[in-house]
Amino acid sequence: MTTVLSETREHDVLGIGARRRRTTLRLAVLTVGLLVTGVIAVGTGAIAIGPATVARILAHQLFGVGDVTWTPPQEAIVWQVRLPRVLLGMLVGAGLAVCGVALQAMVRNVLADPYLLGINSGASSGAAAAILFGAGAGFGQYALSTSAFLGALAASLLVFVIARSGGRVTSIRLLLSGVAVGYALYATTSFLIFASGSAEGSRSVMFWLLGSLGLARWDALLTVAALVIGGTTLCLTVAGRRLDALAVGDETAHTLGVNPDRFRMRLLVIVSLCVGVLVSASGSIGFVGLVIPHLARRLVGAPHVRVVPVAALLGAILLVWADVIARVLLAPQEIPIGIITALLGAPFLLILIRRLHAGGTA
């Protein structure tokens, strides 16, 4: 056993093996953390349910094991109400984090976040149109999310066309078109609120703009979110090496066999779809996509093949806890989750920046 270990170390000339083992360990710890977070979050709320009971209910529902020692209302709360919400929180948190990672590499700017491309503004316009003017009513229970998704789709197409108009999608062109489209659609949303003149409607739109997991149910939306966000995380992890090259520079990417324009275009499609879906499901939850990538890089270094999965887990954990706080703090009233993430995220970002300037490196 000892000889095997020392042998691996001897051949581990660059310390890559040690780094990989460290990453595996961190991924394992984070996965356990995510499960624990899930069980605690499902148990927390107006009616508290102990973690042991939650775990037994979940095991019973998933694998059909264990005897029923709980009341039917407890089971309904755990399985019908809270679990879908916690799962949506995990998905949205993971999605925001990995899209943030991708965008920071695409535009080579550590301040980039998933909303940089104006996609959330498009979704907001769609949501405002649905809430205030009943747009998309034909989609029944999915009216709000469908309308929001169509808005997001329109915004991404607009960004895409503008960014491409010069033939090449450079990072600066992408930034500028995202910001321009974002402002234009933000103005559209404001105009819709102003034009509707409904105070109650404005409040709902405001609530949606700040983000909420209140739409979570066992329905098609959750399935779509799981597929798209899972797929995005997988794609970005596999594309890790190419993301590394792109993050260094376009010329470098080119000389390492990555066509920077084509790659950035593909990333744009993937990220737009993912952000569109998660914004449609939960509104614009800020700061997660900005802060988590930095935290992930501090934990496992810069290579994207490690950063992407770690960011996904961290984002999932953080968002679920933010949602727990949002539900509990002013109970029975629920606070928009975006307020919590911003309040938690801002000081966190400042600490990271301080450490960065103090010469500490990830």
């Binding site: 000339v13 090496r241 190419r242 010329e251």
Partner: protein, 256 residues
């Protein structure tokens, strides 16, 4: 073998390179020299496909460059560019390992062989001790050596370098160019320093206003009569111990 025939490039209305032909022959080091703004870097970028010439063609081992995929191109040509990538959070070892990317399939990660190659390349540029350090924390000269190590790790059949001696102290200027020369791969080097060009290149292309002012073996191109009008400076050539040395003196000073 890299061949460019009748390639051109213009920034806005001003042509920088106009109908230029060059050839980098197998096993030889080709130096691109010329004054500021003569288009050395532009020509190099045309050679590795970062720029696509609207005229003429570029071939690598007789295959037209536009027909090669990005990855195939990277397997044939390793390039050291002037882009520093200063903001990256990658470590030096990770930076060098990026050079192994073109050899790996999408789902493959770097293996022991790749790590050994990267370590060897770092050793060759005297940067083994930098391995675990963050790339962004290095000095200009250290970065340059790491980028050269990355290009070596790429193990391509051609090596292209844009001012590789930038930021390097005198000893490393010679070590790096000596290393390139010792590789025996077909190399193209953009150089400012004519004495370094004299010592480490086999062939030279001297770029003047828009085109090739002279091309051929080092001994022929580095002729004061050819160089003086292109650079606008007085040049004296000495042949010492079998090496060629150039001394420079401004024309104005001479007149005074």
């Amino acid at each position: 073998m890299i061949q460019a025939s009748e390639v051109s490039w213009r920034y806005g209305a001003a042509p920088v390179i106009d109908g230029v032909s060059v050839a980098a022959r197998p096993g030889r080091v080709l130096g691109l020299i010329g004054p500021n703004g003569s288009g050395k870097t532009t020509l190099l970028r045309l050679l590795y496909g970062a720029l696509r010439s609207p005229t003429g063609r570029v071939t690598v081992d007789d295959d037209p460059l536009p027909r090669l995929s990005a990855r195939e191109t990277a397997l044939r040509m390793a390039v050291v560019v002037q882009e520093t990538g200063g903001e990256t959070a990658l470590s030096v070892a990770e930076m060098v390992l990026l050079g192994r990317g073109p050899h790996l399939s999408t789902f493959q990660r770097t293996g022991r062989a790749d790590h050994e190659i990267a370590a060897r390349c770092l050793a060759r540029v005297g940067a083994t001790h930098l391995g675990p350090r963050p790339f962004s924390g290095l000095s200009g000269g250290e970065r340059q050596r790491v980028l050269i190590a990355r290009a070596l790790a790429q193990q391509a059949t051609h090596l292209l370098l844009d001012e590789p001696t930038n930021h390097l102290d005198i000893r490393y200027q010679h070590e790096v160019l000596g290393l390139v020369r010792g590789l025996g791969t077909c190399s193209v080097v953009v150089l400012h320093d004519l004495n370094l060009a004299a010592r480490y290149c086999d062939d030279l292309v001297l770029l003047g206003a828009g085109g090739v002012a002279a091309a051929g073996p080092v001994d022929e191109v580095l002729d004061p009569a050819t160089l003086e009008p292109v650079y606008g400076i007085g040049i004296k050539r000495l042949d010492l111990d079998g090496h060629l040395h150039l001394l420079f003196h401004p024309f104005a000073q001479e007149a005074a």
